[in-house]
């Protein structure tokens, strides 16, 4: 068609915005309460495969065993396993906007085994290395928002 290029296509824009009240349930619920009130991180040990489950869950999904009440404090120190810093703004599905994060995101392994994804205090990735030891820096006043009650992880010493 001759006027193919001129053809105007119409689109409709819709902002899809839905609120959710995600329940944390008794296991993550206990964890979140402890994080808020005592700045403590807990996991639960699988009675069969002995894996320390974090976040704590009612059932160990790895060996299909229901957990008992074997809570274990994890501590808030660990080492950096992986880290990245986005070179561009990342779309945030909580706000519907792009946001640029100044902080690197790291996969941190706690000394007791479990991992957590969290921010690093150190903004300069040149200063970061795998295996560095880090410790959680908590919000003064916990908000009951779980992992968000930790502001970021701070480098405490370098692993030899």
């Amino acid at each position: 068609m001759a006027d193919e290029q001129k053809e105007e296509f119409i689109s409709v824009e819709i902002l899809s915005k839905i609120s959710y009240n995600w329940s944390m349930g008794p296991y993550s619920g206990s964890l979140f309460t402890e994080m808020k009130e005592n700045k403590k991180i807990w996991g639960i040990r699988c009675p069969k495969c002995k894996k320390l489950l974090f976040p704590p869950e009612a059932m160990c999904g790895y060996c299909f065993t229901e957990v008992k009440d074997d809570w274990e404090e994890i501590g808030d120190e660990g080492t950096i396993v992986q880290f990245t810093k986005a070179g561009m703004p990342i779309f945030d599905n909580r706000t519907g906007k792009f946001a640029f994060s100044e902080r690197p995101l790291a996969n941190i392994q706690f000394d007791k085994g479990p991992y957590i994804m969290h921010w690093l205090e150190e903004k300069d990735i040149e200063k970061l290395r795998l295996g560095m030891r880090v410790k959680a820096v908590w919000r003064e006043q916990g908000r009951g928002r779980g992992y968000e009650d930790i502001m970021y992880f701070r480098i405490i010493e370098e692993k030899k």
């Binding site: 296509f9 995600w22 993550s28 992986q82 990245t84 990342i90 599905n93 994804m117 921010w119 992992y147």
Partner: protein
Amino acid sequence: MANRVAIVGVGRSTQAARRPEVNDAEMINEAVRAALADAQIDINKVQAVLTNSIDGFDNFYLGDCLLVDGTGGYMKSGMKLHTGGTVGSTGAIAAFNMVASGMFDIVLTIGHQKQERGNSMGTLCAAAPGEMREFVQGAIGAFAQAAVQYMKNTGAKLEHAGMVRLKADKNACRNPYAHLRLGLKSIDDVAKSPILIWPLRLLDFCPQSCGACALIVASEKVAKKITKKPVWVADHETVHELQSEVVFGGDEEKSQQIAAKRIYKRNGITNPVRDIDCFEVYEPSSWEEMYLYEHFFLCEHNKGWKMIESGVTEIEREVPVNPSGGVLATNAIGATAMLRIAEAALQIRGDAGEHQVTKDVKTTLSSGLGGTNWTTLVLLKRSL
């Protein structure tokens, strides 16, 4: 399988970054019509329609119902399968199961997605539970970490990712249904591509496409009646995996190896490079293709980069991998994993056109990837 099942029709829509000239139903309809024409049957012969995609990219709830105008599902049976990136292959596998069950003779299954719709990363990040969403950066971050890991463990260099990307583009340029056909000349062209998250360059990562794929799956009786070139479904395997701490990379056995071992064992495949003629794998990044060579036992552990270096996975060579151009060239997520199966079927039939591989293809393996490192495998054969 209780009853033999064959793919008798393959349809693809135009795949592109933007498809403003069609709505979702119309885009799907292109693939459906192509598949019906390929199978030389009428929509009335189809008994059930599966419509598969990821809700968050569509922004549809119950998309199978919503898109019935285009799918041809009106007054037919059907449902929607919805796993992760694997959804296209899950939809195909579901169709295989429906026909193998003996309850249906002809099933049409569709994978589709319009990635232009919204922000794909926003939807991908929503796979994390609500309370963890502050700490996710989507698939790119995970694949970048995997790339770092790969270089560290194997000695591979950036140029090897470039070789994978170059091969994908060369193949895509021969496939009219590929989205990105860039005409890259050398790995230097890949090297010029901007960094997304180091070391992943824009060209090392799959694009966002709009497109649909449709397969017509039939029972043995019907298949033999309507086509001279049925492609038989020899076997399939689905392996899910829980979210693990180090999603990609790492040395321990993952869903890919487990799925491959299971399907090889059941089908007497002892040497996949010899026993399988062509591979269509789901490689969201250049690096992932090298991982997959290893995970599917096409080469030794940590030697995937040597395989691309040697050139054996090129279209004319002994172990062609992704002659279609793969996911690096075309990625409408709901369609992606189904396209792997569709392209493999065309290779077996010898109908892949310009991107038909040089060697005679009797057996193919197609893979899907999604969720928290889930794997689907489909083994197709010219004869059973």
